[in-house]
Symmetry: C2
Subunit: 495 residues, 2 copies
């Protein structure tokens, strides 16, 4: 055991194994641990932590179950399907089952309103979105090469894109003044600055619809992005794993539509990441997809895909399901409708409590604005508030700092990984936490007065905060004239 | 398209994507392509290429199918199992389903005669053996670090262990004089030489049972290997993916047994790779396992396993199957028995034709000695002979050069990926190819006389070779006194 000391490991193990590039020390993962230690259950543990840090879609699994019940032949393990067992269990061609690639291409097209077609021969498998994301970086970047990524962005990008590839992420910070939209001048400035520092920029990576914002990129911004990467001869990677979660207008525009429209763009610079984890709620099935317009990337990534192929058992099942036009069309409509209802109800109730979220049209989460509740405008204060939300309110939400945002006080709150009853419990807890009135008599309860809005466009709030907090007292904050900005904990953005 | 020229790609893509580190230009993969273009089918294409280059176990899938039929609840997609669908489809904990890890640990123990127990908490998933192999290298080695690997070895090790990790493989050449067994003096010499060249050796990697030899490491050699890595404070990675293919004596000794026996060895230097692709014939299911005695490696590799987790649908099915003691015990006995029968029949028929194979007790292949048929003792001659076997005899076998062996004339021939009828066709083709008598009158047929044995211990052969070969004539070779040794095509062993 002494042998396995840090010093010993640093000698015996790789730098990758002994650095913290996996990012699991970030708050995002801490919240998961809190949940794991005390998970909410309506009967067995009604005061446990409710998991609202998990962007999971549990609203439409009944549609999939129904389909499976009606299509026993699609499974390898039914009397109707067992005849295929041997062939499928032995199938290891890294191109994947042709019918699986066709099904995926069909689903991807339908999720974009049928406005674009995807070529099944360009569908490459990866081990979940995680594996597919790493794979495209291995194809494009040498160690030290960098990608510009608008922030806030998915925390595990640091691990997925940079840990083993040794590529860098350079955040391009967006802020609430324009609803966190990326602008071309901001990209150009970041690109120029990196070049001046002798950092080789290999591309731009966007997530559309955005995680954590729940917003979609508009048509013009996408066109401008394509022009930007064309002009600089760098890549554009579009993570579209939330494409079928768009639940209200504006509608979703895929980069595939822009490629179709801008006939003379350098298509080979454009790559799409996809997955069924979010849109279909099948994260366990590890279906990651890379769709590239570059022949060289398709060929190379297919060779790499051997490191994380999709189980042929799973390919076989999904091939049949995703080729069923009627099922796919119905699923997309119904899934979107259910997400709309959940989102609408959740945000409406929050509004009643005086809590606003960024206006969003997609995703499995809201980007909740709790800046008013911060003791001061700093990430230290955000972490304090977050600890209270985890430990006292017993909700695992994700602090904005873990998404590399530069403004403290934003939280990502997931709403689609639970049933209606759990949503009610969560809303009740938030209601208690953010009391409309401030009259609690409990002697362990303390009161945090509302800080006045710091941004002119935000409306006056009547938020009152009421909670117990052991060993520490919040004092009325009043108006914070001089917000103190701390660097968010960023395990990955390294040189 | 001009944009996607090599020059363009070298600028746009990574070095990994533009080097040939995936090794698909090796003869091993060429043979697969020949098969893919003209695959044998008993009715539809009876003169097509028979795939004998694929180490696949198709002999026992009926046992698995029977079990599935009797256990509908184990599947997510049956009426009995659908109740678990939502939970399992959403399951994405990288620890894996506890019952899956228990099932794997149980199977691994049983496959070693129950002489050792495996701790489920040390079972880490990887994307097939391919992903698991890469994962352990990422944990142990920095770019440029090297591992000693006895040759001949599995050709795709170059891709799996070195392509994306940028680690090196240094072959330690074994030869037929002692049946290709590794010796400690050979290892020591290779280690010393590498150190003198300032190459950092991080460990030794063995495949036990060996691919392509089909032999197992004896108890003393394994002990000596552990002592060797202990003395030098480097790692020992044991690829045991063929452990349940041992079909006759001597019985298999796992490194796990040695660890148990050598109580005071540095256990944390020992790591086992496992998979169900070979032992159970489930390569499509992508079940790769890393079992490490190092806590640090378990922790780190588990974080890495996110890049290639096993589909939860597949975990769920196998969890139930591998925990069924009766099934597992019966499967292991029956699988071994069927492999023994196939191996015995195949080698017996070859012997009748005067073809010998290395004496083996495991694996899904034989290591066939065709040195006598070479025009000269060179790898050029081996490639010529191999092209004839592929193009004329229409058997895809794998040339020894692709396994990095130093003696030309050996071929790996797989025998467990086909039914009895296909074996008969293959044997008939070999029989025609290697005619007992030499009386063919066909005017395109040419005759290759037997070259006298070059090794004193090999018995006299009466081999006669008869085949058509367009555009080229083989001449009697006579005794080759001065074999010309070429370097085998080695895409990966780079500095």
């Amino acid at each position: 055991m002494g042998f396995e000391s840090n010093q010993g490991n640093q000698f015996l193990l790789s730098k990758i194994a002994t650095n913290d590039g996996h990012g699991e020390d970030s708050p995002y993962f801490d919240g998961w641990k809190a949940y794991d230690n005390d998970p909410f259950h309506p009967d067995k543990n009604p005061s446990g932590v409710i998991q609202m840090g998990l962007a999971e879609n549990q609203l439409s699994s009944d549609l999939i179950v129904d389909w499976i019940r009606r299509n026993p032949k699609a499974s390898l393990c039914t009397e109707e399907g067992l005849g295929s067992f041997k062939d499928i269990a032995n199938f290891q061609d890294y191109h994947g089952l042709p019918e699986f690639r066709e099904g995926i291409a069909n689903f991807m097209g339908k999720a974009r309103g049928g406005r674009v077609r995807f070529d099944p021969s360009r569908i490459v498998m990866g081990g979940g979105a995680t594996g597919a994301s790493e794979m495209i970086i291995f194809c494009l970047a040498d160690p030290g090469d960098a990608f510009l990524v608008p922030s806030p962005y998915y925390p595990a990008f640091d691990r997925d894109l940079g840990w083993r590839t040794r590529a860098q992420i350079i955040p391009v910070h967006c802020n609430s003044s324009n609803n966190f939209q990326i602008t071309i001048p901001a990209l150009e400035a970041a690109y120029k600055k990196a070049r001046e520092s002798n950092i080789k920029i290999k591309g731009v990576i966007i997530t559309n619809p955005s995680n954590p914002l729940g917003t979609t990129y508009d048509h013009d911004t996408l066109k401008n992005l394509v022009t930007f990467v064309n002009d600089n001869n760098i890549h554009l990677i579009c993570d579209e794993i939330y494409s079928a979660t768009v639940f209200k207008s504006p509608s979703f525009t895929s980069i595939a539509e822009i490629v179709q429209e801008m006939e003379h763009c350098k298509k080979e610079l454009i790559h799409i990441l996809y997955s069924l984890s979010k849109d279909m709620g099948l994260p366990g099935f590890r279906v990651g997809i890379l769709y590239s317009y570059s022949d060289a990337v398709v060929n190379n990534s297919r060779k790499m895909s051997s490191f994380g192929l999709v189980s042929s058992q799973t390919q076989h099942l999904l091939a049949a399901m995703l080729s069923d036009e009627e099922f796919v069309e119905n699923f997309l409509v119904e899934n979107s409708k259910r997400l709309a209802e959940r989102h609408s109800r959740f945000t409406r109730e929050l509004e009643k409590m005086g809590i606003t979220c960024l206006n969003s049209n997609a995703g499995l989460f809201v980007w909740m604005d709790l800046r008013q509740l911060l003791k001061e405008q700093s990430f230290e204060a955000e972490m304090e508030l977050w600890r209270v939300i985890i430990d006292e309110v017993k909700l695992n939400v994700s602090p904005g700092s873990s998404f590399h945002v530069t403004e403290p006080g934003w939280f990502r709150v997931c709403f689609a990984n639970m049933d209606d009853n759990t949503v009610n419990v969560a809303l009740n807890r938030i209601q208690c936490f953010v009391g409309k009135n401030n009259k609690k008599e409990d002697d362990v309860a303390v009161t945090v007065a509302v800080v006045a809005p710091t941004k002119p466009k935000r409306r006056e709030s009547k938020l009152r905060l009421s909670f117990s907090f052991s060993g520490r007292r919040y004092e009325d904050g009043g108006v914070l004239n001089s917000p103190h900005m701390m660097s968010p904990h960023s395990p990955l953005v390294r040189g």
